[in-house]
């Protein structure tokens, strides 16, 4: 692994004493710390004070049954572990009472794994949604509640929003997830890593590459395998194509919502072209079946010159379509000022991805903890400070061009490349580690435990679940007709959130 940045090294060296924790060995840039369950809450809050961004909370089984919190701090991924040996139920001081970012992660632990944090309370079930349950918080002569979903107009994934309104202004909003929980974390168990990656690819279809590479990276780090540079480059190529398709989809949906039909058609055409590039490279329109722990299964099946020409044509069109989009007042009027999220709110909820970058928070897993080919590729993190739907769209426009730039760099590297596909995984090996990637929706973190060559446990910290907690707060002064604009500007996927 690469040497640590000075700030990250200071975190690694100073944190154990600061938190009163014992440092354990782990692959860089993980900083693994052990505390007692009693000290867990205090250590977590000290991390928060030190500026750490909360990632996830889960139960691990390696090296022993433990409660684990994961945090991002100055280029380090801090793993705070409290052994729970034999404790039933697992108990610790609740984090979520005054730390909004931890709410849903903690509630999932309570509802699905029977953990009992002291002081925990919740107003409604998170993981067992009931489509018919209508809760009214707003009362008054004209107040009413719209249960929107889980069967929605148009072709959308299953999710429900309960929108309370007095007629125009959205007074209160509640997002209900877990309509499509498929238990995929359990589905990994007992498979060999090269087969389990098929499950990873099908957690969130529109982020197949992100999930496949984060899972593969977790396994590689757990088993101390270095993927071939060639494979890392191809992974970056697929990841950037996937990001482009995702961002173009969001922009096309915004155009559709304003009934800007030529704009819709233009961005759909670009998205379809990117999708077909993935198909020509891998045989799958979602680039499935190519990434595998250790490397890739085959090289792209399209000539690099052809790929470059296709990207040039895409960029030529994208420049013109973007210019038209941002100059169309009927489009931008609906986005500017809609769904305002302050920087403080975004940080309080530890949001990630284009959502956070639209509120001026410069967080990007490719930049914070460079992985794979991103250690060699120059990357400019695109941020906008306005915090509204327009800012989130502008971030995506910026990232589309940034992706094209990264793709060209990666292709240049591929030209003078060996053609090694994958490093072999040691048979019957064991280990546990985090892997991560920047999905189109934001930072994805995967925890994978391997025992005797088989996947033993997997935890997925999806960007969609973490970002959705903010949606309830994205209507400070917005009206009902802004709903679709704000929802699309989030660009999340229920499949990833529900798993």
């Amino acid at each position: 692994m690469s040497s640590l940045a000075p700030a990250t090294r200071r975190v690694r060296d100073g944190l154990p004493d600061h938190l009163g924790a014992t440092r354990e060995s782990g692959p860089d840039p993980e900083v693994r710390l052990r505390v007692t369950p009693l000290a867990f809450e205090r250590a977590a809050h000290l991390l928060r004070t030190a500026g750490a961004r909360f990632i996830t909370l889960f139960l691990a089984d390696t090296p022993e049954p433990s409660l684990v919190g994961a945090f991002a701090l100055r280029g380090a991924l801090v793993m705070l572990r409290a052994p729970t040996a034999g404790a039933d139920p697992v108990t610790y001081g609740s984090l979520s009472q005054n730390w909004p970012a931890t709410c849903w992660a903690e509630q999932e632990l309570v509802e699905r794994f029977g953990v009992r944090p002291v002081g925990f309370s919740a107003t409604r079930a998170l993981t067992r949604p009931d489509a018919d349950l209508i809760e009214r918080h707003v009362h008054g002569a004209d107040a009413f509640t719209i249960p929107y979903g889980p069967v929605r107009s148009g072709v959308f994934e299953a999710i429900q929003f309960q929108i309370e309104t007095g007629g125009e202004t959205v007074t209160s909003l509640q997002t209900r997830l877990f309509f499509k929980h498929r238990g995929l974390e359990r589905r990994f168990v007992g498979m060999t890593p090269d087969r389990a990656v098929h499950v990873a690819e099908r957690v969130a279809g529109i982020a197949s590459v992100a999930y496949a590479s984060a899972f593969s990276q977790a396994v590689e780090r757990a088993l101390d395998v270095t993927p071939t540079p060639n494979a890392e480059r191809w992974r970056a190529v697929y990841a950037e194509l996937e990001r482009m398709a995702g961002h173009l989809d969001v922009i096309a949906k915004e155009a559709e919502t304003t009934a800007l039909y030529v704009g819709l058609a233009r961005f759909q055409i670009l998205k379809e072209q990117v999708t077909r590039l993935k198909a020509r490279l891998t045989g799958s329109r979602f680039a499935r079946g190519v990434i595998v722990p250790g490397g890739v299964r085959f090289e792209g099946r399209m000539g690099l010159d052809d790929l470059c020409r296709a990207l040039d044509a895409l960029e030529h069109d994208l420049v013109r379509d973007r210019r038209l989009f941002v100059q169309t007042a009927s489009m931008t009027d609906r986005l500017i000022g809609a769904g305002f999220l302050s920087r403080d709110l975004v940080e309080e909820y530890a949001a990630v991805g284009p959502l956070a970058r639209g509120s001026g928070v410069s967080t990007d897993a490719r930049h914070e903890r460079p992985y794979g080919d991103y250690r060699r590729l120059g990357l400019q993190v695109v941020t906008h400070r306005e915090g509204d739907a327009m800012a989130r769209i502008n971030v995506r426009f910026g990232e589309l061009f940034e992706s094209l730039r990264i793709l060209r760099q990666a292709i240049d590297h591929l030209r003078r490349n060996d053609h090694d596909l994958a490093s072999p995984l040691p048979p019957a090996a064991s280990g546990a580690a985090f892997g991560w990637s920047e999905a189109p929706q934001g930072e994805l973190v995967v925890w994978a435990e391997v025992r005797d060559g088989l996947v033993h446990r997997v935890h997925l910290a999806s960007p969609s679940l973490r970002n959705w907690a903010l949606f309830d707060h994205a209507f400070p002064a917005d009206v009902l007709t802004d709903f679709a604009f704000i929802e699309h500007s989030f660009g999340l996927t229920p499949a990833g959130a529900d798993r």
């Binding site: 018919d132 148009g154 877990f178 499509k180 498929r182 529109i206 058609a265 079946g289 013109r320």
Partner: protein, 259 residues
């Protein structure tokens, strides 16, 4: 607005000629697995498939259930002489059993349900489609949405998306039906007027796919409601879904599935 108009006109025509012309075959999409050699296989071959789509009978004959296949390619890598990817889009079939290949002899024609198929001439050029997600991975939704993009433009064939199930002729179902989605699915189907057809889109909807044990109410949509057309694939391409839609409304007769 005028500039958008010129921008749109400047593109020229890109829409596929499907189904008048054949599906594009040069786009690299591998839509199905072929069984090249079904004789004399080892019993262990069935273990290769993570979703149990491959079975081997006591005489060593191989059968592949495309309704369970997620196109992961494990079988192609393990036994390249027996299995191969094929660049063909159309995978849809009117019955679950027709998805199992290779098929022996000619299947007796499944009794076509007296629904849309027979009334299709009256409904032609105006089929209203409704979609419901019962636990997909989200990729199927993208591919269904793509049907309305300029490359596929299925409005030219008379398919329209409707937000109201009460106006719908065809229901597209994705996902293997999770517990919280069972009631919404049943209600959506109930309020649709007769005649109506149900299309299961994706391997998850056909058989349950990769979900963990005990998370789905049933393995596949047909355990909850009668399915008229199965479109396997993980996910099926827009052309494959279009093929399934046309099978559902009787615009096409099922083409024999190549062995």
């Amino acid at each position: 607005m005028l500039r958008w108009l010129f921008r749109g006109l400047g593109q020229g025509r890109i829409t596929t000629g499907y189904p008048r012309e054949g599906a594009p075959s040069d786009d690299g999409f591998s839509g199905r697995i072929l069984v090249l050699d079904a004789i004399g296989a080892d019993r262990d071959l069935a273990q290769v498939c993570p979703t149990g789509a491959i079975s081997v009978d006591p005489e060593g004959r191989v059968a592949l259930d495309r309704g369970r296949c997620i196109l992961c390619g494990e079988c192609v890598r393990t036994a390249p002489t027996r299995f191969a990817f094929a660049a063909r889009h159309e995978t849809a079939a009117r019955s679950r059993s027709a998805l199992v290949v290779p098929r022996e002899g000619i299947d007796e024609e499944e009794p076509a349900r007296a629904t849309l198929g027979e009334l299709a001439p009256a409904l032609r050029r105006s089929i209203h489609v409704r979609h419901i997600d019962c636990g997909s991975d989200g990729a199927e939704e993208w591919e269904i949405q793509a049907l309305w993009n300029p490359y596929y433009d299925i409005q030219r064939l008379g398919f329209f998306l409707t937000p109201a199930p009460r106006h719908a002729d065809v229901l597209l179902v994705t996902g293997g039906v999770t517990a919280p989605m069972r009631t919404p699915l049943e209600r959506t189907w109930q309020v649709m007027p007769e005649p109506k057809a149900l299309v299961a889109v994706g391997t998850d909807a056909c058989s349950g796919g990769l979900a963990a044990d005990g998370e789905l109410v049933a393995g596949g949509v047909d355990q909850v409601l009668p399915v008229d057309v199965y479109v396997p694939g993980s996910p099926p391409s827009p052309i494959a879904i279009l093929h399934g839609l046309m099978l559902a409304v009787g615009l096409l007769t099922e083409r024999p599935v190549a062995a």
